[in-house]
């Protein structure tokens, strides 16, 4: 089947496109290619975003672990058992009194260690008062 003439681009070497036919010159091809490239880029980014959202939807949100209650016999007040943070130790080289141009070493931040498990101890309920042995009341 013959292709419609509008789909045929006939370019004769050195010749001009035949009138009536869409004969892409150099600027038209470049534009097409640029458009295609742009479209592909946008589509790609969109898909990437979609995929990322899907991935995020599939993952459960991190939750704060529930506090661990310590039996009443072990604790009576609220206390947080947390590993102490190490102090930052700036590594600063002593600077000569005379300006020697030596660069002062930048303080090195020590990364905080991973905190130990945090145990939140709630105050236990007060022990139940013993039941009265007798009741004083008007004679009856």
């Amino acid at each position: 089947m013959a292709r419609p003439a509008s789909d045929v681009t006939t370019v004769r070497p050195g010749g001009k496109p035949r009138p009536g036919l869409r004969a892409p010159g150099a600027p038209g091809v470049k534009m097409l290619i640029s458009s295609l490239a742009l479209a592909l880029t946008v589509a790609g980014w969109a898909r990437l975003a979609t995929d990322r959202q899907s991935q995020m939807d599939a993952e459960p949100e991190p939750t704060v672990p529930a506090p661990e209650f310590v039996p009443a016999a072990e604790a009576r007040t609220i206390s947080y058992l947390v590993a102490p943070l190490p102090t930052l130790v700036p590594l600063i080289a002593a600077q000569d009194a005379s300006v020697s141009g030596r660069r002062q070493a930048a303080p090195v931040a020590v990364s905080a260690p991973v905190l130990g498990s945090m145990r939140q101890v709630a105050a236990p309920p007060p022990p139940a008062a013993p039941a009265p042995v007798a009741v004083t009341r008007s004679s009856r």
Binding site: A129, P130, A131, P132, V133, A134, V135, T136, R137, S138, S139, R140
Partner: protein, 361 residues
């Protein structure tokens, strides 16, 4: 009724439990409790449990005391004394002790609590036991609007008019109610009442009985004896703790006002919340004011007092109730061995300064 062992209390020293027995005597519910150890059950030759024996003896004791002290029994020692009409009468040791305790209370309360008001009680309508009264009246009873009012001169015209010397307005003369006129001869253990005087020991008998029972039971184990709300405690429980004793709320049935902790002594409550009735359009109750010869026109619903013994607490509670809120609290505060809680007719609760020591376990 069989003694019931409650949940054993385990301590580092030795396990022990509360052994209790409940029965009815002196027109009231009686509770006897022993804080007894869980060791070998029997140290008796007959193999019986000493605690069971003592609890049963306590019940027998109350029955014997009631037989001597009840004015509702025609063959009691008190009934015979009341029927003597001024003659010198020999009485038994139980009646002698209780009468002495009653006169001590009269002296201590300056006559507010006196055993000489039987005629006034009968005139007010308290002419039968509490059990019989409960069968006659209809429950629930409304509260008296505007407080208590005296029956006044109409009382003498009622169906239960008192015998004995009465003044023109129906009230008893001072001679017939003056406790100082009673003569007690310890040599022969005889008593002489002024003519027309008849005695009621309701203001002292239960407290005295609770003290006696607690003292006897203490030889076996720490004991608590509750005689119709008049409570005696012989000493702390084996773990050293004091006894927790609830104070009934007179405003609400089955409700509790507070918990008192008592290691030794007594606590009692006097109130107008239970025994009350209408007569000639006037509200009556069983707490007679000797100054008027009629039910006390008090602004209090109840008075609870902690004292050195149950008989002392019983007298103090009654005196405070008769005096009313202000004078009653002032009277309690004047005695360093007393502490109290007063509930007004308006529902307000007033606590003496020294009661705080009994509110913590």
């Amino acid at each position: 009724m069989e003694a019931i062992a409650l949940t054993p209390v385990q301590t580092a020293a030795a396990p022990w439990s509360l052994r209790r027995r409940e029965f009815r005597a002196m027109g009231s519910e009686i509770l006897v409790v022993l804080a007894a150890g869980e060791g070998p059950r029997s140290q008796r030759d007959d193999g019986a449990d000493p605690c069971e024996v003592e609890l049963r003896l306590a019940a027998d004791g109350f029955a014997a005391w009631e037989a001597q002290l009840s004015r509702f029994r025609g063959d009691s020692g008190l009934a015979r004394l009341n029927a003597a009409d001024g003659r010198r009468t020999a009485i038994g040791p139980v009646l002698w002790d209780v009468l002495r305790a009653a006169l001590d209370a009269a002296r201590w309360t300056q006559g507010l609590v006196t055993p000489t008001l039987l005629a006034a009680l009968e005139r007010a309508g308290y002419d039968r036991s509490f059990d019989a009264l409960a069968a006659v009246r209809a429950d629930p009873l409304p509260w008296p609007d505007g407080g208590w009012t005296s029956a006044g001169s109409n009382a003498a015209d009622g169906p239960n008019a008192a015998d004995g010397p009465t003044a023109a307005d129906g009230r008893l003369t001072a001679a017939a109610t003056d406790w100082r006129a009673i003569r007690m001869d310890p040599a022969g253990r005889t008593v002489t009442l002024p003519a027309g005087m008849r005695l009621d020991l309701g203001g002292s008998a239960k407290g005295w009985a609770a003290d006696q029972a607690a003292r006897r039971l203490a030889a076996t184990a720490p004991a608590l004896v509750d005689a119709g709300g008049d409570i005696a405690v012989s000493g702390p429980m084996p773990d050293g703790n004091r006894w927790p004793i609830a104070v009934a709320d007179p405003r609400l049935p089955d409700a509790r006002l507070a918990v008192l902790w008592l290691g030794r002594g007594g606590v009692a409550t006097s109130g107008t919340d239970v025994h009350r009735w209408q007569r000639d359009g006037h509200w009556q109750h069983h707490i007679i004011d000797p100054r008027t010869g009629a039910p006390a026109a008090t602004d209090l619903l109840s008075a609870t007092v902690v004292a050195r013994s149950a008989v002392e607490a019983e007298a103090a509670a009654k005196a405070a109730l008769i005096l009313g809120r202000r004078a009653g609290m002032a009277w309690i505060e004047r005695h360093p061995y007393l502490s109290g809680m007063l509930v007004g007719l308006d529902g307000a609760v007033h606590v003496s300064d020294r009661l705080a020591r009994h509110l913590k376990g």
